[in-house]
C-alpha cells in the first residue's frame, strides 16, 4: 500500500478550494489521442446525430421497428440483456455483506460502480425508445399508477435500485472529495441499501422476464414458459458474475496503475472463486431449462429449425460453459474461467434476444432485423458508459485502496 496509490484528496480550506479541486478533476487525464479515444469519439459523434434525427423524425426514422415488432434491440439488448449483465452488483454485495466473504471485498466497489453505470446508461437508453418520454413523469409522481403492470414494477425498481447502488458506492465519492464526516454517514447506510438492493434486484431481474408473460401467443413455445421470471433471475446470477470476471480482468489491465497490491495478488483467486459460483448457478439454470422442456412435452419441436436454434443456445452456450466452469475450477485454470465466462455471456445475450426479438413473432413473414443505426446508437451508449467509468476509476478509490483516514471507518 504505497502512498502513490492513495488518491489525492483535497485539503478543503473553503468553497473556493473545493471548486478549484472539482475543476482540476474535470480535466481529462493522460494522452487524449489514443486509438480508443479516436474511435469512440467518432462513434459518439455520429450516434448523437442519430439521436437528434430520432427525436425530430420519430423512432421509425432510424429503426426497423414496426407494428408487429414494437420492441427491438434497444429493449432486447440494451435494457433486458444489459440489466442481466449488471446483476453482478447484487450478487457480489450479497456475497460480501450478507455472507461475509471478505476476500471479495476488494472488488465490490468496482462491481457496484459498473452495475450503477450500466443501469444509468442502459436504462437511460430506454428514454430513446420511449415514444413520449416527457410523460415518464406520470408513473413516477403518481397521478397515474398502473399498478397492474409488470412494467410499472420494473420501472420503479430500476429507479430505486439506482439510488441504492449510488448509496453503496457513495463512500468512494466522499473519499475522493475528502469529506470525512459525510464518508462516515454514507458508510453507515451501506448494509441497509445492500439489503434493499438485493430485494429490488430479485424482483426486477425476474420482472424483466415477467414482461413477456402476456405475449404467450407470440413467443415460440420452446422459449415461452410460465417460469421465465425464475429463469431470468437464476441466469442473472451467472450473467452478472461472468461480466464481473471479464470486466475485472480487463480493467485490471487497463487501469493497472490504479489497482491496489492487495487486489493484484488476490485477482486470480477471486476469479476462480467467482467461476465456482457461476458453475453452481449455471447448473441450477441448466437443470431448470431441461425441466421446463420436459414438462412442456415439446420434444417434436426440437426436430424443427427452431429446435436446432434452441439447442444451440442450450447446449452450446449453457451446457458447454457450465462444463468449462466446472473443469476450470477443478484445475484452477484462470484462463479457462474467462473463456467459460465469455461463452456464458454470449448465451445470455442469445437467450434474452431470442425471447424479446428472434422468437418473438417467430411466425412472421417479414421478421424484424435491426437497422444499422440501432446498433450504432447501442455502441454510442456503451462508449459513453466506458468514458464515465474511466473518468471515475481514474479519480476515485475504486480499484485501489481508500485513503488512510477512511480505512477503519466501517465496522
Amino acid at each position: 500500500m504505497s502512498e502513490s496509490q492513495v488518491p489525492s484528496s483535497p485539503q478543503i480550506g473553503g468553497i473556493g478550494d473545493f471548486l478549484r479541486f472539482l475543476l482540476s478533476e474535470m480535466k481529462p487525464k493522460g494522452n487524449l489521442i489514443t486509438p480508443f479515444n479516436v474511435i469512440s469519439s467518432i462513434i459518439v459523434a455520429v450516434g448523437l446525430v442519430l439521436i437528434v434525427i430520432r427525436f425530430v423524425y420519430g423512432i421509425g426514422s432510424i429503426t426497423n421497428l414496426d407494428q408487429d415488432n414494437p420492441w427491438g434491440i434497444w429493449i432486447g439488448f440494451d435494457v433486458v440483456t444489459g440489466v442481466a449483465m449488471a446483476g453482478g452488483a447484487y450478487v457480489m454485495t450479497f456475497i460480501v455483506y450478507i455472507l461475509g466473504r471478505k476476500r471479495y471485498h476488494a472488488i465490490v466497489r468496482s462491481v457496484v460502480l459498473n452495475g450503477f453505470l450500466a443501469y444509468l446508461f442502459y436504462a437511460g437508453a430506454l428514454m430513446l425508445d420511449l415514444g413520449r418520454p416527457w410523460n415518464i413523469i406520470n408513473p413516477i409522481i403518481g397521478n397515474n399508477f398502473g399498478v397492474s403492470s409488470v412494467l410499472f414494477l420494473v420501472a420503479w425498481h430500476f429507479m430505486l435500485y439506482m439510488a441504492a447502488e449510488l448509496i453503496e458506492f457513495s463512500p468512494a465519492i466522499a473519499e475522493w472529495l475528502g469529506m470525512k464526516r459525510l464518508r462516515k454517514i454514507l458508510g453507515g447506510l451501506t448494509i441497509a441499501s445492500v439489503i434493499f438492493g438485493i430485494t429490488l434486484s430479485t424482483l426486477h431481474q425476474s420482472g424483466l422476464g415477467a414482461l413477456f408473460l402476456m405475449a404467450e401467443s407470440k413467443i415460440h413455445p420452446l422459449w415461452y414458459t410460465e417460469f421465465i421470471p425464475v429463469l431470468f433471475l437464476v441466469s442473472s446470477v451467472f450473467a452478472g458474475l461472468s461480466m464481473v470476471i471479464l470486466e475485472g480482468s480487463l480493467s485490471h489491465k487497463v487501469f493497472a496503475d490504479r489497482v491496489s497490491k492487495d487486489l493484484h495478488h488476490r485477482h486470480d483467486d477471486i476469479t476462480i472463486g467467482l467461476g465456482k459460483i457461476c458453475a453452481g448457478a449455471m447448473f441450477v439454470y441448466f437443470f431448470l431449462k431441461v425441466l421446463v422442456l420436459i414438462h412442456g412435452q415439446q420434444w417434436d419441436m426440437l426436430m424443427t429449425g427452431w429446435g436446432a436454434w434452441f439447442l444451440v443456445e442450450l447446449i452450446g452456450f449453457v451446457l458447454v460453459p457450465l462444463a468449462l466452469f466446472f473443469r476450470a475450477v477443478r484445475e484452477e485454470n484462470v484462463k479457462m474461467v474467462k473463456v467459460a465466462a465469455a461463452l456464458a455471456l454470449t448465451g445470455i445475450i442469445l437467450n434474452r434476444i431470442n425471447i424479446s426479438v428472434i422468437a418473438f413473432n417467430w411466425f412472421a413473414e417479414n421478421p424484424y432485423t435491426p437497422h444499422w443505426a440501432e446498433y450504432w446508437v447501442t455502441a454510442t451508449i456503451i462508449c459513453l458508459e466506458i468514458w464515465a467509468l474511466r473518468w471515475i476509476v481514474n479519480r476515485m478509490p475504486v480499484l485501489g485502496d481508500p485513503p488512510a483516514w477512511a480505512r477503519n471507518m466501517d465496522h
Binding site: 397515474n144 438485493i198 415477467a210 408473460l213 401467443s217
Partner: protein
C-alpha cells in the same frame, strides 16, 4: 370530558362517512352497466367498406376510397390512421368479407400492461387511449394478442392509434359509427349478454349456415366484439389457438408474489447476516479460549 366526547363523536362521524361512501361504491358496482358489444355476422357482410369510411369520418382520419376494389387483393392490417379494415378471404364457402378492429377484450391485456393507465378499459366496455398519460413504451402492443394497437413510428409526437368503439358517441346515447353505417345489418350493437344470445340463437336456428363457434365469446376470457362465420375461423384470418384464459392472468401470480418477496426477503437477508456475525464472534471467542490453535 367534553373533549373526549368530541373526539369520539368525530371518530364515529368519520367512520360512518367512510361506511356510507363504501356502501355507495358497492351500490354503484352492483348497478354497473354491462359491457357493450358488437356482433359481426360475416355471412351477411358484402364488403362495401362503408364502415371504413364512417370510422375515418368519425375519428378525423384520412377517408379511404371504398369504390376501390383492388384493396381486396391483399390482406390488410389496421394502421395508425385506419382503425378498421375489411378483408376478403377465399374460403371453402366462397368469398367472405371480414371486418377487423380492436376487439375490446373483457379483461384487456393492453390496459393491464399500461403503467400509466393511458390504455384504459372504461366501465362500459370500450378500451380507450389517453394521450396525456401515455409514455410510448409500446408494452400494450407487445401484450395485445390481436396485435391491435398501432404506433406512429414516423412522428416526433407519436400516438398509439386504435378503435375506441366511439365511446364518446356511446356516452351521448349513440351507437358506433361503423355499426350505424352498415347497410346489411352485418354489424349489431347492444349489451354483450344480448349479443351473445342473438349469436347463439342464430347458430341454433341455422346450424347449416354457421360454424358452431362464436369467436370472442370465450377467446382470451371474452371480447367485446363477437363474430359469426360460415367457415372455421382460421380460414378468415382469426387465430384459433388463443387460450380461453384472460391474458392478464398470465402475470397475476408474479404480481401477487411481489409484496411477499418484498416483505420476507429483507427479513431473511437480515437473519442470514445476523447468523454470519454471530458465527464470526463465536470464532473469535474460541480463539481467545484456545490461543495458538492454528488448525
Amino acid at each position: 370530558m367534553e373533549r373526549r366526547d368530541f373526539l369520539r363523536n368525530l371518530c364515529i362521524a368519520g367512520a360512518s362517512a367512510v361506511g356510507v361512501a363504501a356502501a355507495g361504491e358497492a351500490g354503484a358496482a352492483r348497478q354497473k352497466k354491462e359491457f357493450v358489444s358488437v356482433l359481426v355476422d360475416t355471412t351477411r357482410c358484402i364488403g362495401c367498406r362503408n364502415c371504413e369510411v364512417a370510422c375515418a369520418t368519425e375519428n378525423g382520419l384520412p377517408i379511404p376510397d371504398n369504390k376501390d376494389k383492388t384493396v381486396f387483393e391483399n390482406i390488410r392490417d389496421m394502421t395508425p390512421d385506419q382503425w378498421t379494415v375489411v378483408n376478403r378471404f377465399d374460403t371453402d364457402d366462397g368469398e367472405i368479407f371480414v371486418k377487423k378492429q380492436c376487439m375490446h377484450c373483457n379483461q384487456a391485456a393492453c390496459s393491464t400492461a399500461c403503467l400509466t393507465q393511458a390504455m384504459y378499459k372504461t366501465e362500459n366496455g370500450p378500451v380507450i387511449w389517453r394521450a396525456g398519460k401515455c409514455m410510448g413504451c409500446r408494452f400494450c402492443m407487445v401484450s395485445c394478442p390481436f396485435v391491435v394497437p398501432k404506433f406512429e413510428y414516423h412522428s416526433a409526437n407519436p400516438k398509439i392509434q386504435k378503435c375506441i368503439l366511439c365511446y364518446e358517441r356511446l356516452e351521448d346515447g349513440g351507437i358506433p359509427a361503423c355499426v350505424e353505417s352498415c347497410p346489411v345489418d352485418a354489424l349489431q350493437f347492444g349489451s354483450r349478454r344480448e349479443m351473445v344470445r342473438i349469436a347463439q340463437n342464430r347458430v341454433a336456428d341455422y346450424p347449416d349456415q354457421y360454424e358452431d363457434h362464436i369467436y370472442g365469446q370465450d377467446e382470451v376470457g371474452g371480447t367485446g366484439w363477437l363474430y359469426l362465420s360460415a367457415v372455421p375461423f382460421d380460414q378468415i384470418g382469426f387465430r384459433d389457438d388463443l387460450s380461453h384464459e384472460p391474458v392478464p392472468e398470465l402475470t397475476q401470480n408474479f404480481l401477487y408474489a411481489v409484496p411477499v418477496v418484498f416483505l420476507l426477503w429483507p427479513a431473511f437477508l437480515n437473519g442470514m447476516r445476523y447468523i454470519k456475525t454471530e458465527e464470526d464472534e463465536e470464532a473469535q471467542i474460541e480463539e481467545v479460549y484456545n490461543p495458538g490453535d492454528e488448525s
